[in-house]
Symmetry: C2
Subunit: 254 residues, 2 copies
């Protein structure tokens, strides 16, 4: 089995390394940036190109790990209808492939990938969707090789999980940036918040997030909430967010 990876960004990099580490051959990396294609190709020992016309036509599976906006035009320009074509996006419908190739699917690794941050790919949930049962089996075979956490999800479910991921990952990380700024404004290191961040994430393995909820909003402690709003007076947008999230927490606990 031969694989081509279209893309060389965060997802492409982590996926390519995970496949390679499990002895799955990647024959080629394509990227618009030759340098970026070459960098990734060097890591995994594959061929590379930045020209669509030079993409290998012999592969069994083409993985598209590129930005959502770039997907359609590149699908249209690669004309290899009888291979399997899959994208790795959380929010793009599988049917984007429909009129272009015969076998297609989605291989969505539900994780936050930054290029320089290594992670344990075996734990990454992979959500699989496919045009037909043969393709589905093929995708599960690959997915099960790189991860211990593979499951079937249709496009609606996957989009909903992607939305959930924005809340638990992107918005959570934004809360960390606010915390870091506030700590540094008071001449304390962000480091002292790290045990709290770790425990907050760890707790939900033992309690539901609803049961794990603590803090002034949970207790409807108006005195502290008002003090905090005053402390945020120079940052009206943060002040507004503080109030709105506190309201939501209070409603949820009630």
């Amino acid at each position: 089995m031969e694989i081509v990876i279209i893309g060389s960004g965060n997802v492409a990099t982590h996926l390519a390394k995970a496949l390679r580490a499990n002895n799955i051959t990647i024959s080629q990396i394509y990227s618009r940036s030759l340098e970026s294609a070459q960098n990734l190709a060097n890591i995994i020992g594959s061929d590379f190109t930045n020209s669509v016309s030079k993409i290998s036509r012999k592969a069994d599976i083409y993985f598209y790990a590129i930005t959502d906006d770039a997907l359609l035009s590149i699908i249209e320009s690669i004309d290899i209808p009888n291979a399997i074509h899959v994208h790795t996006a959380g929010s793009v419908d599988m049917e984007i492939f429909k009129n272009h190739v015969n076998y297609y699917g989605v291989f969505y690794p539900l994780q936050t990938f930054s290029r320089t941050k290594e992670l344990h790919f075996k734990d990454v949930p992979i959500l699989i969707e496919a045009s037909d049962i043969v393709t589905e089996n093929q995708l599960f075979k690959i997915a099960n090789t790189v991860s211990e956490n593979c499951l079937k999800a249709n496009s609606t479910q996957r989009k909903q999980i992607h939305l959930a991921a924005v809340f638990v990952c992107n918005f959570t990380n934004y809360m960390y940036t606010v915390g870091a700024d506030l700590a540094e404004n008071s001449s304390l290191s962000f480091d002292i918040l790290k045990p709290l961040i770790a425990e907050t994430a760890n707790k939900i393995n033992f309690l539901t997030p609803k049961d794990a909820q603590t803090g002034p909003a949970t207790r409807n402690d108006k005195k502290i909430i008002n003090e905090h709003l005053i402390m945020l007076e120079t940052e009206p947008e943060l002040q507004k967010l503080y109030l709105e999230i506190s309201d939501q927490i209070y409603k949820m606990k009630k």
Copy 2:
């Protein structure tokens, strides 16, 4: 050295257990609820009472681990001016003790405590403030016994860190509750979001939260943002939050 703990809630419970585990004698637990005082006293092998007049007068240090609102009235009713009195609150000024006792301070464990969730107290940062250097040394001596992460912080710094903690812990946990609801609405288990939650928290040990930020708002991906807003149409408050946090993330990355 003898210690009395006023309170039997989450903080009191974790603190009492940590002190006990490090062979510091707790002579008595006070709580308005006799049952709650007794439960904690049984765990750590101490005396207990629910009557202020029966609080031991012989202790060296009195820890007040109770709600902020209850603090002042109980400080006023305990008349033992020459012992050390400390509270464990993030947002209460140290000077609350000023006109009532001679030696006082703050012993703030920066962590989210739920009674049933065990944790490694040695990692919990303890922020110390004291009325005088002798009291400060005494508090550091105890703090260093239970934690490897003790530091001095004045009331202004502590309040700021408490505000930061609301963002990185309470608001983050709220994001988890939203994620859990969204996952379950699409018939998927919240469990599949847990590796993402763990990695999001883990990443900031390697990257600044600003560098770790990923997701549609970071890329200003209006197509996905709009799809997500449509998916949240039945929950206008969440929709509003989604938009506001996305705006903040985009501004931050720009």
